[in-house]
């Protein structure tokens, strides 16, 4: 219990230190920070998470050997796609600078989707064969 109280105190102190530094910002900056803080949680809890619940309802309709591979691929692809948004949109690109954001990111993304799809296909075949070998239950 003593460890936990000490940890808790250290955590509260570090958090307050950060929060006080944030308060140094002007009012309009603080409003913007709060919007970004709340925005991330709202998008996650009320958009992304409900979508994962809906997606979860679809998997029983898939042939059983494909279910696990599809779930793995969808989870990974969701995360990769989210982190690819800034480069896919090239929002930070500067017209006079050809050395940054200098890839064809959509092609790269399609490449990742293709690799995952091949992985799903191979894993599904392996699992279907394994089920067939173990014979009818």
């Amino acid at each position: 219990m003593r460890t936990r109280l000490a940890l808790g105190a250290v955590g509260v102190a570090a958090g307050l230190y950060g929060a006080l530094m944030l308060l140094d910002d002007g009012f309009s900056d603080l409003v913007s920070i709060v919007i970004w803080l709340a925005g991330g949680v709202v998008l996650h809890d009320f958009v992304l998470s409900p979508l994962t619940v809906l997606a979860g309802r679809l998997t029983p309709r898939l042939p059983s050997p494909t279910r696990a591979p599809v779930v793995v691929a969808v989870v990974v692809l969701t995360a990769i796609t989210l982190l690819a948004i800034p480069v896919l949109g090239r929002f930070g690109a500067s017209p006079g600078n050809a050395t940054l954001l200098d890839r064809n990111y959509w092609a790269g993304w399609v490449g990742i989707v293709t690799l995952l799809a091949i992985g799903v296909l191979l894993a599904s075949i392996v699992r279907a064969k394994r089920n067939a070998n173990s014979g009818p239950a």
Partner: protein, 384 residues
Amino acid sequence: MNVRVPAESDFTSRLRSPAVAARIGVWLGISFGVCFVTGLISHYAQAPSQPVPFPTSPFWGYRVTQGLHIASGMAAIPLLLVKLWTVYPLLFRPIPRQVRALALDLLEKGSIAVLVSAAIFQLVTGLANSTQWYPWSFSFRATHYAMAWVVIGALVVHIAVKLPVIRDLLGADIDETSHDRPEAVDEGDLTRRGLVRTALFGSTLAVLATAGATVPWLRKVSVLGVTTGDGPGGVPINRTLVEAGIDEIAVGESYRLTVTYGDAEVVLTRDDLAAMTQHVVELPIACVEGWSATGTWGGVRMRDLLALVEAPAGSDVRVRSLQTRYAFGTSLLWSNFAEDDRTLLALELDGEPLSFDHGYPCRVIAPNRPGVRQTKWVERLEVL
């Protein structure tokens, strides 16, 4: 299709278990820990005053710490998403009626709200910044730094609150159900171990897909990397001459470098600089946004320039640029950097005169220094 607000008991997958959350939490804690420490290093390297001087060696130090900073942040994205998925039902936990229980419930939910919102904030703003995208009005560096303390503080509090559960579950098999919600019994499409591996697979892929911007042998693999590493002389560019608000005339025939120490002042043309003893060093530009690339730089030793005005040993130097836009138009070169043999006022990159965008006529290149401090288009060196 029903659209009512779900109840905690509606979530029946046995994957949404504290046993899974604890294991992913360990990996997430490691990535946030690495991100925090490397972030502190980067912040200190850019600090306007440094009680303990930032070291000049190893020359690749900042390149590695900042590369790790971005990589650990990328790795955290899939981990955080899966971790939040496992604990999502708790958001719909019934609200207690008793005052004391209600207060505790609100306190816990409040601390989790701080942790989750600040963690998402850090990953989102850091991710956008690593691609030069600033869709907000607040100062990125100050805010990202302050919020890092909020995240790490809230994380430590979270660990303190959950410590008995974490100990229990990490000491037991992953399929242990003692801390599960009673409804969480449905077999999912994955095993619990499979879900943890999926999250780790996602993290690995996230790092491989982006780290080529700083790890040369990953360049071909990192299809989402912010740069291929190509650029004049094999080094990419962050800010161009035009973006920095400099007229080409200012870096042409009329260009002069002024070196001052007290009343002593020496004015040099680019030809004067080229006539001094030239040195060649191989050093990286390691950008604060995370990309890096090694260049072969040729130019005059900073020490030799300071000797022209008889600067005493141990002097710090203020470097002023022709740059009129963006921060970092001036930078401080601490005495240990100014005196290091490898610190040059570079005139050449890869055997060619610097391109305009790389800082023609001359720029600072020093070991173990954030890219924003490798000041370009230098017009004045003031010995302090």
